[in-house]
């Protein structure tokens, strides 16, 4: 049994990161994730062989992560929409240089300065690259504070395993919410040795360098092919999702994070009215759980995608279903969280 405590989502991420061995945090304040930055300051500034830097900007923060990651240290930064946009330069460099790190996006309403309430409109940015060039992050979407903890720890392992940046894609609701969390004993897993690529001085060996560029297009293509090969492996091995009530459902909802949590209540309420709803909740957004959606679409031909956006994950669901099912969509955005009532009303529209 691990330790159980009542924690706010944002602080739970910080505690999970520290327990996962992250000793270097670089960040910049932004609502609704600032508690995480403050938590890391409180803890890391008192720890040995650790550093907390309040960076001058999000751009600098992600570049500090790049530097710390290049020494082999577990490093993290966090932000919300507008700040994550600024970090895209560094994220693209990290992906090209194949440096592991964890980036947390506690999404708020967008676009522009948007709002400070929860949102899910950074899905495209998180899963399709976000910055320039062809690359992917490993994107994990927690739906409870407990999952924030577990996935944050997993994110560091996955980042190290694939030498790739990993992102926790939460939202303002999960970040601000308090829940009981348990810090479970984790199984030791074998991770690849970092010695081959870390930069700590060339004592006793040839010099090494990390340069995310090559002016020879054929060499640059090789760098691209190498990371594409890695994404194939990630798709093959790391897909995670939760499936509820898929047998004999009248309709399947596909939703992630906070919205999926609301849908679970909708399922219970619908049952009382004799309506049988299933849920597919992607836990990894990249890699996306295409297969389960494809298989389910063959059996149940009514699907409703619900998001706090105007239809971003919707595109991936449509690609996965490939015309096999009728795909409908309901979304609220800008910081508005859809209610159980609204979602159930929407479901009923497609069942008459």
């Amino acid at each position: 049994m691990g330790e159980k405590m009542l924690m706010k989502g944002n602080e739970a991420i910080g505690e999970a990161a520290i327990r996962a061995g992250c000793r270097f945090y670089f960040g910049y304040p932004i609502t609704p994730q600032s508690e995480l930055t403050a938590y890391m300051a409180k803890k890391l500034l008192k720890m040995k062989d650790a550093a907390f830097v309040q960076a001058e900007s999000e751009i600098a923060a992600i570049s500090m992560v790049y530097g710390a990651a290049a020494t082999g240290a577990r490093a993290m930064t966090s932000s919300s929409g507008p700040g994550i946009s600024l970090k895209q330069e560094g994220i693209s460099y990290l992906a090209c240089a194949e440096l592991p790190c964890v980036i947390v996006n506690i999404q708020r309403g967008g676009p522009g300065l948007g709002s400070i309430q929860p949102g899910q409109a950074d899905y495209f940015q998180a899963t399709k690259g976000g910055g320039h060039g062809d690359y992917h992050l490993i994107v994990l979407a927690p739906s409870s504070v407990q999952e924030l903890v577990d996935l944050t720890m997993d994110a560091f392992d996955l980042a190290d395993k694939y030498t790739n940046p990993a992102m926790i894609l939460g939202d303002g609701l999960i970040g601000q919410m308090m829940e009981a969390v348990e810090f479970k004993e984790r199984k030791k897993i074998d991770l690849p040795d970092k010695e081959g690529w870390i930069l700590t001085g060339c004592k006793g060996r040839e010099k090494k360098y990390i340069v995310p560029f090559n002016l020879d297009p054929y060499e640059m293509e090789k760098i691209n092919l190498k990371i594409q090969e890695k994404y194939k492996k990630i798709i093959e091995k790391e897909i995670r999702y939760e499936a509820i009530n898929l047998d004999n459902a009248d309709l399947i909802v596909v939703a992630y994070g906070t919205v999926a949590r609301i849908v679970k209540t909708v399922i219970d309420n619908a049952k009382k009215e004799g309506i049988n709803i299933g849920l597919i909740r992607p836990i990894t957004l990249f890699p996306f759980p295409e297969k389960i959606i494809a298989e389910t679409s063959e059996k149940i031909n009514k699907v409703l995608v619900v998001e706090m956006s105007y239809g971003q994950m919707l595109e991936d669901v449509k690609l996965a279903a490939n015309g096999k099912a009728e795909i409908n969509f309901y979304g609220r955005a800008g910081g508005v969280v859809p209610t159980q009532f609204e979602i159930l009303t929407e479901i009923k529209k497609y069942l008459t």
Binding site: V53, G67, T71, L199, G201, K207
Partner: protein, 248 residues
Amino acid sequence: MKKVFGSPKSLTKVPFTYCPGCHHGIAHRLIAEVLDEFGVREKTVGVCPVGCSVFAYVFFDCDMICAAHGRAPAVATGMKRAKPDSIIFTYQGDGDLASIGTAEIVHTANRGENITVIFINNAIYGMTGGQMAPTTLIGQVTQTSPYGRDPKTMGYPIKVAEMLSTLKGVAYISRVALSKPAYILKAKKAIRKAFQSQIEGKGFSLVEILSTCPTNWGLSPIEANKWLEENMIPYYPLGEFKTPEEVS
């Protein structure tokens, strides 16, 4: 026979690919000599910028990393914080340091990060083909100031050494040139002091090196040295702007 002159260990055997008359090669060599003299090559990581000297990683025989344009001081911050025993230097041009990376250099200096910055000021963007830099002189003709830099719309050349020396976190700042042997000897001393400052944990150190870009200035190497002395040095005075007592 006693060997009296050779290539520094901290440089690889790869011949420089910089243009004839460009000062990057001299600056690289001076840094390499200093790393050798302090015996720190094996615990040094250099951060190269975006610009002509992005290729510095090829020429330095120590661990190297390439930062995004202007972000070298932030990358260096992350490295030094994670491995405080490493010797970390950045090598940045004027577009990199004084334009797109202004925020990073100011705040890295202000935090007093214990790193060394080598700042190459040649008053122009080299790699992109000769556009106006923040350090381009008044009236200087470049691709993007084709009628000469007009301060009314393009602002004034930024004096980086003076500006950063007002910050309390800074331990050592000097400005040097490489246009003649006497200057090169002084430049070497300044680079030594900057690294010494880092080795002794004194805090942020920076050496601004006035350099030529004969290709984009449209001058021969000899004319370029002359132009530097006649035009740059009067505006960018040489000397030390900040020294910690123990280092000076």
